[in-house]
Amino acid sequence: MRVVRWFIALVILAGICWWFPLFHVATMKTATAEKAAVTFNATVFAETYWTNQLLASFAKTVKADLLLPAIQADSGAAKIKFARSLGLSASYFYFVSGSGHVVAVSDDEVSLAIMPASTNTEVSLQTGLVFGNALRDGTGLLNTSDYPNSQDFNDISAALNHLVEARVLPKLREQAKVGANMSFVGCAEVDDETTDLKPLKVIPIQTEVQ
């Protein structure tokens, strides 16, 4: 009788452990893979975002030959109409495209005249080290509220900046010659209107010599 009671108790215990296991056994390989899957990888994200979203969003840009006269006429009105900003920030971004001819080339920038017959630098394509959030925040495609940890969101900025430095700038530096006609798509951050609008400093996402 006692043996039967013990047997029943063991069966019940086994049943409880089956339904509510106290621990799981996993191989190191599986555990590492599961952890990696949970950890946000900004580099992988940026690669996918670049191909699937960013390059497909150029229709959302404002044309430089429309934006520059608008800024010239009334920078405040141009900001309201064409710019985007984040939270309570006073700085803002333009997602801009256009074409012009190269009027100067230096280590850190390619200067373009945009308006017909102009020889002034109206857009400066930035070709030095890329810092900040213009590429992440300038397009309006990414929203900080979608990211539980802001570190992940900030890592996206660094990853996108590296992509521009690796994919866009080497070709731009090689092809940009004074007098050449060039088209571009990029993002501009305006932090200080006295220095950032004339010329408009654009971090390029795509450039083509025509």
Partner: protein
């Protein structure tokens, strides 16, 4: 007899007036709703400004407001939340102690129907708090990093004092700074240690760093309290002219130190602006508004000797 009647009439009038006055004032008290201001630590002047400003704005808006000091202790913070939920508070203006450890407290308040508005520090969740008003530490430290390279140069040894390791601001600041400075291979970080956002700890860590690395040219500190501690250590060691100090917060004593040429730069976080806005959000919520953006970045501006005259009193003049 006439005198007695007069006395009786006067007594009735006075009693009625007293009763009316008491009822009126308790009706006013009952109508005043309560807002809790839970702050990670009141042992840092910057957070005192944050907490006091939030409280003052809540009172201006017609609420009773109380500050709870978590003393950088998640257990104390959890106890505050238990108390404020039981105490009938209508909203919480919350400066968390830990990005992950504080989520459970916010969820408890949410389950009790109390909205929580995070200020300055983040929790790693997008569906617990009603809104989070966060300093854009990363962008601020990108700018600080650029100014660091401009003033320190592209070569030399430097050290970094990190904040509290469990706080996202610590890493957003550090990563923003390094996203710039690490691009210059000549700049070598020879020491990196937590000073826990604390002035005394910052002083202590800086002292030991100076002993191990006497040739550093600069120190980047994750907040102004540590920057002041580091500066004190440098003065004691006679190295305050050799080592450039960079802070972050926009604390009044550091802004003054920048004007006096003792500290090179800091990031102004605008605590008053964040605190006032969070109290206004709570007021709007209580009055029925529900559509708040989850995370609202608040810009950070760098304060240097070139523009220091524009800043003071925890903001822009």
């Amino acid at each position: 007899m006439k005198t007695n009647w007069l006395k009786l009439a006067l007594a009735i009038v006075l009693t009625t007036a007293a009763l009316l006055f008491t009822q009126n004032s308790s009706a006013q008290d009952a109508a005043k709703q309560k807002i809790a201001v839970v702050i990670s630590t009141m042992n840092n002047p910057w957070f005192v400004v944050l907490g006091e400003t939030a409280k003052a704005r809540a009172i201006e808006l017609g609420y009773d407001a109380t500050i709870f000091d978590s003393q950088n202790d998640t257990a104390k913070e959890a106890a505050h939340f238990e108390n404020l939920i039981a105490g009938g508070y209508k909203a919480v203006l919350f400066n968390p102690t830990d990005a992950n450890g504080s989520i459970a407290n916010v969820e408890k308040a949410k389950a009790a129907g109390i909205p929580v508005f995070c200020i300055d520090r983040e929790i790693n969740s997008t569906n617990a708090a009603t809104a989070q008003m966060l300093s854009d530490s990363y962008s601020g430290c990108v700018k600080l990093g650029q100014y660091f390279v401009k003033t320190v140069g592209k070569e030399g040894e430097y050290a970094e004092l990190l904040g509290i390791v469990g706080d996202n601001n610590t890493w957003n600041r550090s990563k923003g700074f390094h996203s710039v400075v690490d691009r210059y291979p000549g700049l070598k970080m020879v020491a990196q240690q937590s000073g826990e956002f604390d002035r005394a700890k910052g002083l202590e860590v800086m002292e030991s760093m100076l002993q191990a690395h006497p040739n550093i040219k600069a120190v980047f500190c994750g907040n102004d309290a540590m920057a002041m501690g580091a500066y004190q250590a440098l003065v004691s060691a006679g190295k305050d002219k050799q080592v450039k100090v960079f802070g972050f917060d926009g604390a009044d004593d550091v802004v003054k130190a920048i004007a006096e040429g003792k500290i090179v730069a800091t990031g102004m976080q605008f605590p008053k602006r964040m605190a006032q806005q969070s109290a206004e959000f709570a007021d709007q919520y209580i009055k029925g508004k529900r559509d708040f953006a989850q995370k609202i970045p608040v810009p950070v501006e760098i304060v240097t000797k070139e523009n220091v005259s524009k800043y003071g009193d925890y903001g822009k003049k």
